[in-house]
Symmetry: C2
Subunit: 576 residues, 2 copies
């Protein structure tokens, strides 16, 4: 295939091009990044030290004509959780890497000197450049200027001030086609990139070899089936394109799983103020974009551009989790101030899920008042951005805030913040949060699909029965999807529409000339989870870490049900 591995060594400031080892040939995305981290990073190493690596890999279908296939996987040992981390994002970098024939970019070592660098990848190779030009600058300014200098199509990965400060909630931002921001959000990849003193990476695919298909006819046919299934399916064909992920507000609130005031209730009387339907109308009335794709080839377009009352840009890629956690869970019923906070977190380079739960816990600790939107914006845009002592506490995540202020109502698993779905009322999520190799992560096994949306069957959300099996099936499927380069949203039709699921592995077969079956997809997912868990066990994780925080034993209104899974019941998850 002409594919290659690029290594960048920041200790020696050298680069190398390697052939793809035989073991890695059939892998892509999460399967590849997790394999490389598990093989090459000592599990007990310092996450911000010289032995950690930062690996980027496009998925198996990236840069083909397959719809929504442009996700980039980032792998590293997480400074937030202390375990393995895979975080994937849209944007332009994945497709550009793949078109250059780069199967993985592996960044190793840390510089000996206090100097900062940028990395530039194009058809000629890789260059490490000493580069302090954008230090201290936010992602929006960096992306705008790089786009102006190097062209709109350039792929860019960057860290904001949070990554420069090596904050554990720092993300790695990816430029989208319009210069807006997508993120490798979770787990502190930005801190790892900051520890290697890389402010940004550009990927220019001009003149690259591009992608060849083993069976172009079959690929065309299967990709057509795949796209049609997505467009015909209500969630991906209508719901997400119209309202974005924020369509979940009313659904989750109705289910009683809508975290309010740091997980004290599951239902909020002001939910309508921040709902997807409300947001859609606001965006339309202000000449924003209610629907926008984060990557070339996206047919769902769940992103959007949110303007202020004067029609000026405020933020883009404005997701349910951020809106819910800063909204109901902080008692801020004001989309405009939440949008400003979202912009600030993107610009500073903070995971907006971790950053939002940071605010919940800061309110719990009395650092600011419940419902204080302007105070929230100030904490993010002044304290975190400037790296003040309080900003360091906040920028290191919800667990850091809890420890610093000596409080125990801290919604984290493996020190990673729990997203905007209460695990007591969507109990499949509870199992996902508890067991995921990533720490608390809704994308690792999106249980609401089957617990509430009745996609891929139905498991009663309020009962313990069936949740472990559900979460296992979803986590296995997710690990496989994360390896393809496909956006996780494709799982909605794939779980319900047989020919959509078939099309995914048949596209891979057509791309590489393989003959994978449905079972191979499942086995790939299992392999990924087991590889990640093995790393975590070697890093010191045990089943004692596969637990929800103590306070979830409290009954949650309105269903008045607490978390009561026994440890041994949760541990059944790993019996496969």
């Amino acid at each position: 295939m002409g594919e290659k591995i690029i290594r960048v060594n920041m200790s020696t400031l050298t680069t190398a091009v390697e052939a793809v080892p035989a073991d890695w040939v059939g892998l892509g995305g999460r399967a590849l990044t997790s394999t490389i981290i598990a093989a090459e990073v000592p599990p007990t190493c310092e996450a911000l030290g010289k032995y950690n690596k930062l690996v980027f890999a496009p998925g198996l279908l990236t840069a083909t004509a397959a719809a929504n296939s442009g996700r980039l996987s980032a792998g590293f040992k997480s400074p937030l959780t202390g375990g393995i981390k895979e975080s994937n994002a849209g944007g332009t970098a994945a497709q550009n890497l793949e078109k250059l024939g780069i199967k993985a970019l592996i960044i190793e070592g840390v510089p000996q000197e206090e100097k900062w660098y940028s990395i530039h990848i194009n058809k000629e190779g890789v260059t490490i450049k000493e580069d302090a030009e954008y230090l201290g600058k936010g992602n929006y300014e960096l992306f705008k200027e790089i786009g102006e200098k190097m062209g709109k199509k350039i792929g860019v990965l960057a860290i904001g001030p949070a990554g420069e400060f090596r904050m554990a909630a720092a993300n790695i931002s990816v430029k989208d086609p319009d210069g807006n921001i997508r993120s490798h959000g979770r787990g502190g990849g930005g801190a790892v990139m900051g520890s290697k003193k890389i402010k940004y990476i550009t990927v220019d695919d001009a003149g690259g070899p591009g992608v060849t298909l083993a069976d172009p006819e079959k690929f065309k046919e299967q990709s057509r089936i795949f796209a049609k299934a997505m467009l015909d399916y209500p969630v991906t064909g209508h719901g997400l394109p119209t309202y974005g992920t924020n369509i979940m507000v009313n659904i989750v609130n109705e289910a009683g799983a809508f975290p309010v005031k740091n997980f004290r209730s599951g239902c909020w009387e002001h939910a309508e103020k921040i709902s997807g339907e409300t947001m859609h109308d606001v965006i339309v009335s202000r000449n924003g974009k209610p629907s926008h794709g984060c990557q070339a080839g996206c047919i769902i377009k769940c992103s959007q551009v949110y303007n202020d009352a004067d029609g000026n840009f405020v933020t883009a890629g404005f997701e349910y989790e951020t809106i819910q956690l800063l909204g109901a869970n902080s008692l801020i019923g004001d989309l405009d101030i939440i949008a400003k906070c979202d912009w600030a977190m993107d610009d500073i380079g903070i995971d907006s899920i971790e950053g939002s739960v940071v605010i919940n816990v800061a309110m719990e600790a009395g650092i600011l008042s419940w419902g204080d939107g302007e105070g929230t914006y100030r904490l993010i845009n002044e304290e975190i951005r400037m790296g003040t002592p309080l900003g360091r506490i906040l920028g290191n995540g919800a667990g850091s805030v809890g420890r610093s202020f000596g409080i125990t109502r801290v919604p984290v698993v493996k020190n990673q913040a729990i997203p905007a779905y209460d695990p007591r009322t969507i109990r499949g999520f509870g199992i996902t949060y508890a067991t995921s190799t990533m720490g608390a992560d809704h994308t690792a096994g999106y249980a609401i699909a089957t617990n509430i949306l009745r996609i891929g069957g139905f498991v009663e959300p309020l009962k313990n029965e069936g949740q472990v099996d559900l979460s296992r099936n979803l986590q296995v499927a997710t690990a496989a999807v994360d390896s393809t380069g496909l956006c996780l949203m494709v799982a909605f039709p794939a779980l319900d529409v047989p020919e959509c699921f078939t099309a995914i592995y048949e596209m891979i077969n057509a791309r590489y000339g393989l003959s994978l079956t449905a079972n191979d997809v499942v086995e790939l997912g299992k392999y990924v989870l087991k590889t990640e868990r093995d790393f975590n066990q070697r890093a010191g994780f045990t089943s004692a870490h596969d637990r929800l925080p103590e306070f979830f034993e409290e009954p949650l209104p309105p269903h008045n049900i607490g978390w009561d899974f026994k440890g041994e019941e949760i541990d059944e998850f790993w019996n496969f």
Copy 2:
């Protein structure tokens, strides 16, 4: 024996007196507190939550005429390490508890309301009093006023502002006979006491039953042998009484194990400025007390009272570890400013080992300059005391500072700071730091005794051979000594003088009418370590946590030797 267990439940604000369960009858001190914590505290619970307990227990010989037997053991799940914690201290509380016939005080639960309390124990029983009088006050003021109100002999346990803030480096302070401060220093017991909203505890032994001896004649004889052995032995009879623990400066510097500038060298050209010999002369010239006992019945008197140039009190209980770490390891060659910092840490209620390494790491992070003594005092006495955001970062320990500022040169094991002996040059300490159930702790297995002082034999300090066995033997012996109520200093003669060792268990036999042998002492020590390790394993610890920080692989001048123990070699420790 008429002994009893007192339970104080802070959730219900009730107290109870219980008979001693059969399993606990033969236990005291660390053996008892660790047994209770392991039996009654869920290992994965929140350390600052309602399921943690705080247990105090005098030792098996406490309040007898045995010299140096007045140590009090405190047990809890540590908010610093996340594992079990036993921290013991001198002062007056242990003897008073024992004289009241109290074998253990178990404090459970956390108050429902935002109110603070004090607890008062006397011959009538136990009282919980709502009490905000001393909130925000330092330990010195509290001890002085309580002593004036309740008499000089009163036993007092208290937390300073650090404990009120529930900082993970907060200690529990114990009043000594003169109103000075001893500390249950390590592991954040002050935060646990703060989480239970207890500012202080008084123990008044007036009219209590006192201690009875099963065989008074034998006890008298054995305690005489024991005391004579200590007085005749050079370390306990001359070195420690004359120079205090700070006698170690020249010895450790000579050995090349004297941490300099955050463990960058093992030898300091300015060591004389802070040595025990220098300190002795300064104290004498200023009418201080070069030798002072922290408890009734102490015959070593390694404490002291340090005055300023005008002859005014600055601090007491001024130990080698604090002086070394704030001195050489921070490049502050000034005993006077170090003494002020020591006073401030005692007054605020911060473990002065953790607090000193906090300063080392703060200098590493660029928060203040190397050698900045006044800046160090300001950080402690203003930032930590006031609980500012920076103070929260510092007050939560060296690991907290490292994480907050994204640095990796952080000398901690299990998140507890490494004390003032470099593990590369006294390699038995490396094994102790790595394997101790307590996190990095020199008192858990004081390897310098055999590695350098040639007490209890000799194991070459720079070689790996024999260190695992040495550390195991010392840790077993220490766990036993910590259960007797004897000060650990007695281990020096006990390791070398057979009749001294024999006298320890014969005094226990004479106290209780038992017939323990030397082997029983060893078995007790092993039981304690295994009980603690079992708790830690259930809390999620594995051998991955029994490792030194990565940076110790660097060769240390002047011996230029790095830490190169293999994991499996360290893990041999637990083969017993």
